[in-house]
């Protein structure tokens, strides 16, 4: 039963999660091994699927499978169905592959944590959810995975939630993601209301006779969802705090896989964006803004993980931008996504290993000169560094330059702006990555006395090494003979090439120069003069703003949080005073009138007689009225 094996992809890690969570402490001994094994086996299933797929012709490659009828009410019919095509297979391999490596890494990294078993349970849960996300054959199934990874990310960010700050960080991540998810549900609603279906194939088919307005609406809402999950502007604020999670988590979820779900969503929905130029334009803008936004933040961070997080944000900005460029861009976006998966994960693991050696110090100003103490980490990290810079022949060179090139060639003034932005971004990236390298590995040691930096055990450096290899080779492999582009092309309808504004050579040249400039500045600034181990206070306003993540939190707090809290307080008060108050008033009124009416009962028989008399007179009067 080959088709069934799609289920195994998800079922294996899911089972792992379930077993570990239900078995509880009993499974502490072997839990991590089981989890790793299951993740790995899922990876091999993926490979097997790939082999099968390679064996089929282009049209035959996508396979889908209905598991059972999930929801069916009236015309709203959703099957629990999976779909594996050229796009999702890439993700499957990335997720399970990098995932497995990180499982391995974590065995050692988390070895001292009493709750390691729970950690692995969550990792497996994440893998399962992420696979569901990329395998679901309809937007609603995708939604399940979409929120599933959100949950896993919440659990993992808050893994050490006994620290209030971390608990808050996890909550922040979940809530901001929910804002994005809201966009996704809107998209689904519009899709159902206008097209009567929410399955990828169904929607794709329905696009041609659907009003542009609706398509634009769907597109924008999908973009909102993407910004939430992929930490794009304006929903980017959670990513930095998400670094509260254990470093392997940052590597897997917040660098390699989950945060790229937005890119997947947009490329998956290419048929919608191609038909909704406005939405597509917005995608590009969001991408451009974010890539600058992230890059700028990156320049000011002293926390190595936050610096990397900022860089992730910026790199995903590249991908979104690429995806926003339409059919020509999708493939490159994916390519960058994959290469980024390698080098960024690698660098995060490197950071982890550094922290491991520096008893969890994250402040780069307290590092320095680690090259000697952790050669392997330095090597792997360095390769990742070169890759992200886009130095040929490393991975980034292929993927990133493609995006820059496509940006330039996207035509007209738009092309020029986008191109320059991407170029500038590249240069800034070069600057802050160099800064990270210098502060961490070179120069004088600035760590305090109790730190005994040492290389990490093989369980940790092996994955780093593998990823490093990936970050060297993946670019070449994927772009060799346009391998990936051709692989994916059947999914995207090609509108033919734009006129070339700049030739690839020129672009590469430009890019490299810009990078060189960035590197140079970094060298002048940090390598020459001594770096202090505390962040200097007398810095420019820009630096300060950058250190505060360009005031993103300040903004959210003052615009959403505070007013929200005030509103809540007011409502709580009015609910008691006004609404319930009204009810109480009615009651009091009744009692009051009763008390006052008692007065009639004076106790004097004569007044009673008078009452009767009055009554009699009243009756007579009434009669008189009647008869007149």
């Amino acid at each position: 039963m080959i088709s069934n094996s799609l289920v195994y992809l998800i079922a294996l890690p899911l089972a792992g999660a379930a077993i570990l969570l239900l078995a509880g402490r009993r499974s502490d001994k072997w839990g991590h091994l089981l989890a790793t094994a299951l993740s790995a086996s899922s990876f091999f299933v993926g490979l097997y699927q790939l082999s099968l797929m390679l064996g089929r012709s282009n049209e035959q490659r996508p396979i889908s499978q209905k598991l059972f009828e999930w929801i069916s009410v009236g015309s709203f019919k959703i099957d629990a169905g999976l779909m594996l095509d050229q796009l999702s297979i890439c993700f499957v391999l990335l997720i399970t592959g990098v995932g497995t490596l990180i499982h391995v890494y974590s065995i050692s990294y988390m070895s001292h944590d009493p709750d390691r078993r729970r950690f692995f349970a969550f990792l497996n849960l994440f893998i399962a959810a992420m696979l569901l996300l990329v395998l679901g054959d309809s937007y609603l199934n995708l939604y399940v995975g979409w929120e599933g990874v959100g949950l896993a990310s919440y659990l993992l960010i808050g893994f050490w939630n006994q620290k209030p700050a971390y608990a808050t960080a996890s909550k922040k991540a979940f809530v901001m993601n929910r804002v994005g998810d809201m966009g996704l549900s809107f998209a689904i609603m519009i899709a159902f209301a206008t097209m009567g279906t929410v399955s990828f194939t169904g929607v794709k088919a329905a696009v041609e006779h659907t009003s542009t307005a609706a398509l634009t609406g769907i597109g924008i809402m999908l973009l909102v969802a993407a910004t939430g999950k992929s930490a794009q502007f304006p929903l980017q604020a959670w990513l930095g705090d998400a670094m509260a999670g254990p470093t392997p988590v940052s590597a897997l979820i917040h660098a390699a896989t989950m945060v790229t779900a937005g890119v997947y969503l947009i490329t998956r929905s290419n048929f919608i964006f191609d038909a909704a130029p406005t939405a597509q334009l917005l995608v590009v803008i969001v991408g451009a803004v974010t890539l600058m936004f992230g890059a700028l933040i990156g320049t000011a961070k002293d926390d190595i993980k936050k610096a990397l997080a900022a860089s992730t944000m910026s790199q995903i900005g590249y991908m979104i931008l690429g995806a926003g460029l339409g059919p020509v861009g999708y493939a490159f976006a994916i390519m960058h996504l994959l290469t980024h998966g390698f080098f960024k994960a690698g660098m995060f693991l490197g950071a982890g290993s550094v922290m491991h050696g520096m008893n969890d110090e994250v402040n780069m100003r307290k590092y320095g000169a680690l090259r000697k103490f952790m050669p392997i980490t330095f090597a792997t990290f360095g390769l990742g560094y070169l890759a992200i810079l886009g130095v040929p022949p490393f991975a980034g060179f292929y993927s990133k330059d493609m995006i820059i090139e496509t940006a330039f060639n996207s035509g007209g003034i738009k092309g020029i702006i986008l191109g320059s932005v991407t170029l500038l971004g590249a240069s800034i990236t070069a600057f802050y990555m160099t800064r990270v390298m210098i502060l961490t590995f070179t120069g004088k040691s600035r760590w305090d006395d109790q730190a005994h930096p040492h290389e990490s055990p093989w369980l940790m450096w092996l994955p780093m090494a593998i990823l490093a290899i990936g970050s060297v080779t993946s670019g070449y492999l994927l772009s060799h003979g346009n391998a990936l582009v051709n692989w994916l092309s059947p999914l995207f309808e090609n509108h033919g090439e734009h006129e070339e504004l700049l030739s690839p050579i020129v672009v590469s040249g430009l890019a490299l120069t810009m990078v060189a400039i960035g590197v140079a500045i970094a060298f002048l600034k940090y390598s020459r003069n001594q770096v202090s181990d505390v962040a200097p206070e007398n810095v420019s306003i820009f630096t300060r703003i950058a250190r505060q993540d360009l005031l993103q939190d300040r903004f959210n707090e003052s615009v959403f949080m505070r007013p929200g809290q005030v509103l809540t307080k007011i409502l709580v008060r009015t609910d008691d005073s006004v609404i319930d108050g009204a009810v109480r008033t009615v009651g009091r009124a009744a009692m009051g009138s009763g008390a006052s009416l008692r007065g009639v009962q004076s106790g004097f028989v004569r007044s009673y007689a008078a009452l009767i008399l009055v009554g009699a007179v009243a009756l007579i009067a009434a009669i008189w009225v009647v008869t007149q």
Binding site: R598, G599, Q601, S602, G603, F604, V605, R606, A609, A610, L613, A616
Partner: protein
């Protein structure tokens, strides 16, 4: 002479009685006012029986007198007990029960 005048008279008597009940304090007097009202009613009965040329009205008058007598018996009994225990026959003093 027009029989209606008797009706006016009885109405007048009735009103006097009713007002008397309301304004007088002494239980006995109050009671006498009520008797006045009853007799006013009797007067009407008799008048009507005269007007309608039908004897039943007059029969009722007799019944009423008997009933009034019974009322007197019961009434005086009650008033006297009250008077004995309170040493006052003022209806205003008897106002324990109120509200």
């Amino acid at each position: 002479m027009d029989a209606a005048n008797y009706l006016y008279l009885s109405a007048l008597l009735f009103t006097i009685g009713a007002v008397g009940v309301v304004v007088r304090r002494n239980a006995i007097v109050v009671f006498m006012c009520i008797e006045l009202m009853l007799n006013a009613a009797n007067l009407s009965f008799v008048t009507f029986s005269r007007i309608n040329g039908d004897l039943n009205g007059q029969v009722i008058a007799f019944f009423t007198m008997v009933v009034a007598a019974c009322e007197v018996v019961v009434g005086l009994a009650i008033i006297v007990t009250i008077y004995r225990s309170r040493r006052s026959a003022s209806v205003d003093d008897a106002s324990l029960l109120k509200r």
